[in-house]
Point group: D2
Chain length 171, copies 4
Amino acid sequence: MIFGAILFQMKPQIAFILTGGSIDKEYNSLDKAFTVGSGAVERVLKLVNSNFDAEIIPLFQKVSVDITDEDKAVICRTCTEVSTDKIIITYGTDAMTDIGQTLVGIENKTIVITGALKSQLIKDTDAEFNLGFATAAVQTLPAGIYIAMSGRVYSWNGCRKDMETGQFVEK
Amino acid sequence: MIFGAILFQMKPQIAFILTGGSIDKEYNSLDKAFTVGSGAVERVLKLVNSNFDAEIIPLFQKVSVDITDEDKAVICRTCTEVSTDKIIITYGTDAMTDIGQTLVGIENKTIVITGALKSQLIKDTDAEFNLGFATAAVQTLPAGIYIAMSGRVYSWNGCRKDMETGQFVEK
Amino acid sequence: MIFGAILFQMKPQIAFILTGGSIDKEYNSLDKAFTVGSGAVERVLKLVNSNFDAEIIPLFQKVSVDITDEDKAVICRTCTEVSTDKIIITYGTDAMTDIGQTLVGIENKTIVITGALKSQLIKDTDAEFNLGFATAAVQTLPAGIYIAMSGRVYSWNGCRKDMETGQFVEK
Amino acid sequence: MIFGAILFQMKPQIAFILTGGSIDKEYNSLDKAFTVGSGAVERVLKLVNSNFDAEIIPLFQKVSVDITDEDKAVICRTCTEVSTDKIIITYGTDAMTDIGQTLVGIENKTIVITGALKSQLIKDTDAEFNLGFATAAVQTLPAGIYIAMSGRVYSWNGCRKDMETGQFVEK
């Protein structure tokens, strides 16, 4: 079965493209402000004795509202140029569908956009769960652009963030 | 597309069948011993504002070597009787393929066996990542019996635990 | 020895007066802002099987720069009126000496002002250490007004926060 | 005031003598057993931007029942020889009074014995609180041998561990 053959291949290559968002927020105790870093994915992968090859590509350290059209073009180009066909993008939760739209047209790659409602540095973060979720999704889904949040896989334009609850729901 | 229609259905129902294993180990500070509990899945799901329905079924609180043939029959019967076709079993990491074998023959259900190398109560646990991973796998994979560990999906008889590293690798 | 007799008395009564500050900052994932709560002390005391009586008095949920003169008068009155002579005040780290000055004149009570550079909800917080530190200081020091930060006890007007490092150092 | 002069001295020197115990238990996920390490104090001190000099002396990695009379002699000699008069000993909680007795006779030093009911690696550990507590106690108490547990300072022979609750109570 071709599907199985692909699924169970040796050592998948997964690219993690980092753009910022709440998942990578860091609290600066000196000026008492949140800044955006880029260490969340690396810290989480260290917890897991993972049997895949991860390429971590830190592009931006921004909240999603600060991502410009130029930034989006860089993200898009990076997705195209990276050698693997399995890509996870960490992104701010407020504009995930925006970045999804930018990526439409990329062929033959499975791109999963994820993030977290709470910084990976916070005790009760959803970052570890969400990154695990995205890591399975990117290996099991056919080529396409997806958002993986709230324990669900959505097509990039099939969901919205409920601003009252923070939950990603069907559009 | 039927695949997509199934994937993006409203509110998936996921059954979590708990049998014990390291993921649910608890440290008893009085007699200085590990016991096996059943709270890991519930604690992890609380972290995630999840948009699926979870049914948590605590069957056993055992390490995998203590699971008897009778216990396996109970697990098998529970998988058959539970109304949903999406089942995650938490299980000790030392005998995951054993329980997989027991379940062969269950039709039309996606059964994902997972667990953790370190208790969910330990700071640098892999439990949150693994449960997130299994939660995506159970929604995206066709019917079958799978082991989801080390950031990989394996068929139930396609992997083994490397006893030197703890990593689940191809058989 | 009178000192020993006081020190080793049965069940000390300790009042925790909460005013806010970074120790009690909570991240609101919906509007992506920090708010100030009042749960840190209670969460920390739950970790410890403590053999003293704690009275938790939540007065304010403010950062220190928002504490008004009226608020300070309330804190001062609370210290005077509370029945115990062992008082820990959690306070924002930027204005700890200010509140210390307000309390000068309270007789026969040991008042220890503490807090944290990082919220108790953050994984690598200093909150648990600092609260443990203050809990010992309040039981062992003679009556007076103290600041307990950076693993040190200072008289209320004997230290300053180094704004470059966050460390409390001798004035 | 001499008391104040000592208390508020510049940069106290604190020696942390590590002997093992639950505070330093580590879970070995491969052979599924607890071993005893020596990293707890260093990890906790990293959380605190502390303004004292810490000398960490790892002597043993044992649970308290495995500490021999020879080991006790080594601990005693280390306390005598270390240049500072402020010493914290981390020790297993089951035999803290035993080690206290060994140290009787050491003059002019404040020795505080502490530990934790739960390993510092467990999410809801008491290790950070207890180490903060001991760090204040060692700076504020007169010379003597003390046990600092359960949020209390006891003379070394003034307390016992309640084996039902884990709490350290008056003898």
